[in-house]
C-alpha cells in the first residue's frame, strides 16, 4: 500500500522548536544505586588481579581454558574443573581509537581500546581492555602486548588493577 498512501503520520520536533520552547517537555533525573555480587568465578578472578595474576578456568571435557573464567562450561554444560594461572601477555585481536565517552560526548584525549587474546588461554579467548604507551598509528592486529599493573598497594580487586596493556618489550 506504500504507493497508495499519501500522507505519513507524525510531527517532527526540530532543534529550533526545542530552543524556542515550543513544545512541553518534562525533565527528570533518576539516580539508582546498586551493589553487585561479582559471582563465584569473577570474585576469584578479581582477587587474583589484586595479586598481579590473571587466572582462567579449564573445562576438562572440551579442554578449553576460559577467560573471563566461569564456573560452568556453556558449551559442554557441565561444571568447569580447575583454576589455571595464565600469562599477563597477549595479542591484539582488534582495536579502536575512541573519540567519544560513555555518554557519547566528545573526548579531549581518545581512549585506545582493544580485544586482547590472553596467552595461556584457548585461542580466541580475549578480554576487553585499554592500550597505553603506544601511538594510535602504531597499533596493529597481531601486536604482542603485556599488562601494566598498578602498584600492589593501589590494587582494589578490579579490572582496572591492570592500568592498560602496552607493547611487549622483547
Amino acid at each position: 500500500m506504500s504507493q497508495k498512501i499519501t500522507s505519513y503520520p507524525g510531527h517532527e520536533i526540530t532543534s529550533d522548536d526545542l530552543k524556542e520552547g515550543k513544545y512541553l517537555d518534562i525533565y527528570y533525573k533518576f539516580v539508582p544505586r546498586y551493589s553487585w555480587a561479582a559471582g563465584v568465578a569473577i570474585s576469584r578472578f578479581l582477587d587474583e588481579l589484586k595479586n598481579g595474576r590473571i587466572v582462567a578456568r579449564k573445562c576438562n571435557r572440551c579442554e578449553r581454558i576460559l577467560v573471563p573464567p566461569r564456573m560452568y562450561c556453556e558449551q559442554c554444560y557441565r561444571p568447569t574443573d580447575e583454576w589455571i594461572q595464565i600469562k599477563d601477555t597477549g595479542t591484539v585481536n582488534t582495536f579502536s581509537i575512541s573519540h567519544v565517552g560513555t555518554d557519547a560526548r566528545r573526548l579531549k584525549t581518545p581512549i585506545l581500546v582493544a580485544v586482547i587474546d590472553i596467552d595461556g588461554a584457548s585461542p580466541g579467548m580475549g578480554i576487553l581492555h585499554n592500550l597505553g604507551e603506544v601511538e594510535p598509528s602504531k597499533i596493529w592486529i597481531g601486536m604482542k602486548v603485556q599488562a601494566v599493573w598498578k602498584q600492589p598497594s593501589e590494587r582494589q580487586g578490579a579490572i582496572t588493577d591492570i592500568r592498560y596493556f602496552k607493547p611487549l618489550e622483547l
Binding site: 553487585w36 582488534t94 567519544v100
Partner: protein, 386 residues
C-alpha cells in the same frame, strides 16, 4: 501442526530525531495504518504482539504495559518481545507463533521506539549492557563493539573502508524515495571517508542516526487471508538464535548466530539455495559494514565477499540482489524496534509490487528480512513470499 501465516497490512509513521507524538500515539498511528490497509478494524484482531527496545530510552519501566493501549491491546492477549536491536524482526516472529500455532487467526504486530527522551544522548542507555564488573569500568560505549568488529572484519578479509562506505552511499540514496525517511541523501564515498571519526574505523557517516518512530503489520491465518485479499504475502520462514554475552571470546569477523537463524528460517521456507532463491533482502544495517556482515551470515554472499558484490552494483535496486531498497537504517532511520519492523513493511510492499519509486527492477517473489542486536549476539530472520 503449524499453519501458514500471511501478512495482509502494513503501516509506518515518519522516522525523525525527535517526534512530538508519545510512544502510545506513535503506536496508534502505525497500527491504524496497518489495519486500514488490511481492511480490518481492531474488533477483528484477536491478539497483539509488541516490540520495543530498552526501557532506559524512555525512562519508563515496563514500557510494554505503559504503551499497550496505543497498540490496541487492552483486554486482548498481549506479549512484548525484546531482543535488543533484533526486536523489530522478532516482533512478527512472535506474531507468527500466535497464528501458526492455531491459537489465533488475527494478530497485530507493532514495534515502537522513542530514543529522544534520554540525555545527553540515547547512546548512553547502552553503557549498561556491558558487563558491570569487567567492562564498564573501562569507559565503554556501544560504538566500541562496532568499531572492534568492523576492524576485525576488514583485517580478516582485506576489506577497505572505501568499499564499506559504498553501503552508506547506496542506502542513504535509496532512502530519498522513502516518505518516512530521516536521512535520505545523495552522498559520495569521499563524504563518508571525510566525515568525523567517532571510534575509528567508524566515522560519522558509517552510522545510522538515533530516531523516534513506529511501524506495524497485521498477520492472519490462511483462511482469513483468502477472504481478505487476492495478494497475501506469506511469512513462510522464521528463525532466531542467540550467542553468549562473552563477546570477546567470539569470532568477530563472522556472525554465526545470524547464520544459524537464517538456516532455521530457510529450512522452514524450503529454501535450499538462498543466493538463487532470494529476490530481495533487507538485512540489518545500523552501521554500513553490518549490512555486509549480515549478507554473509544470511548466506547471500560468501565470507568476505559482500563488499565486492556491493562495489559491483549487485545490491542496487536494479541489481541481481537488491539489498535495503527501503534505504535501511542508515537512510530511513533507526528507531530500534521500529527499524526492524520497517524492513518487514518494505518486503510486504516490494513483494506486492507496491513500493512505488522504491520498487526493485526484478520480479521479486521471495524476500528475507533480518535484524541483529543485544551484545552482538542475536540474529532474527523472516522469509516472506508472494
Amino acid at each position: 501442526m503449524k499453519r501458514r501465516v500471511a501478512v495482509v497490512g502494513a503501516g509506518i509513521t515518519l522516522f525523525r530525531r525527535r517526534m512530538l507524538e508519545s510512544p502510545k500515539e506513535l503506536s496508534f498511528e502505525a497500527s491504524k495504518m496497518a489495519l486500514d490497509s488490511a481492511g480490518l478494524t481492531l474488533k477483528d484482531i484477536q491478539s497483539v504482539v509488541s516490540g520495543s527496545a530498552p526501557d532506559a530510552f524512555d525512562g519508563v519501566h515496563m514500557k510494554g504495559e505503559y504503551y499497550l493501549d496505543g497498540m490496541g491491546a487492552i483486554g486482548k492477549p498481549h506479549e512484548r518481545v525484546y531482543v535488543g536491536g533484533g526486536t523489530g524482526v522478532f516482533t512478527p516472529i512472535g506474531g507468527w507463533w500466535n497464528v501458526a500455532s492455531g491459537m489465533y487467526d488475527t494478530c497485530l504486530c507493532v514495534a515502537e521506539e522513542k530514543m529522544s527522551p534520554l540525555h545527553p544522548h540515547p547512546q548512553y542507555a547502552f553503557w549498561s549492557i556491558f558487563d558491570q564488573i569487567l567492562e564498564r569500568p573501562l569507559g565503554t560505549t556501544l560504538l566500541w563493539i562496532f568499531s572492534l568488529e568492523m576492524r576485525r572484519y576488514m583485517h580478516k578479509y582485506g576489506i577497505k573502508e572505501e568499499e564499506i562506505a559504498e553501503v552508506a552511499v547506496k542506502n542513504k540514496g535509496n532512502a530519498i524515495d522513502h516518505p518516512s525517511a530521516q536521512l535520505g541523501a545523495k552522498i559520495t564515498v569521499s563524504d563518508v571517508m571525510n566525515s568525523e571519526p567517532i571510534c575509528s574505523p567508524v566515522k560519522r557517516l558509517d552510522v545510522s542516526p538515533p530516531s523516534d518512530g513506529a511501524a506495524a503489520v497485521v498477520l492472519v491465518s490462511e483462511k482469513v487471508a483468502k477472504k481478505l485479499t487476492d495478494e497475501p504475502v506469506w511469512l513462510d520462514g522464521v528463525g532466531w538464535t542467540l550467542d553468549t554475552t562473552h563477546w570477546t571470546n567470539r569470532d568477530l569477523a563472522y556472525p554465526e548466530y545470524v547464520e544459524k537463524a537464517a538456516k532455521m528460517a530457510y529450512r522452514m521456507a524450503g529454501i535450499k539455495n538462498p543466493r538463487k532463491e532470494i529476490d530481495v533482502a533487507e538485512p540489518y544495517d545500523p552501521f554500513d559494514y553490518k549490512e555486509l556482515h549480515h549478507l554473509e551470515g544470511l548466506q547471500l554472499a560468501g565470507k568476505g565477499e559482500a563488499p565486492k558484490m556491493t562495489v559491483d552494483g549487485v545490491t542496487q535496486r536494479d541489481g541481481d540482489l537488491p539489498v535495503c531498497p527501503s534505504g535501511g537504517l542508515l537512510g530511513v532511520g533507526n528507531p530500534i524496534a521500529a527499524a526492524g519492523m520497517m524492513k518487514i513493511c518494505e518486503l510486504f510492499w516490494q513483494l506486492r509490487g507496491e513500493a512505488g519509486k522504491r520498487q526493485v527492477k526484478k520480479d521479486a517473489r521471495t524476500g528475507v528480512a533480518q535484524a541483529w542486536g543485544d551484545l552482538m549476539q542475536v540474529g532474527t530472520v523472516a522469509v516472506m513470499r508472494s
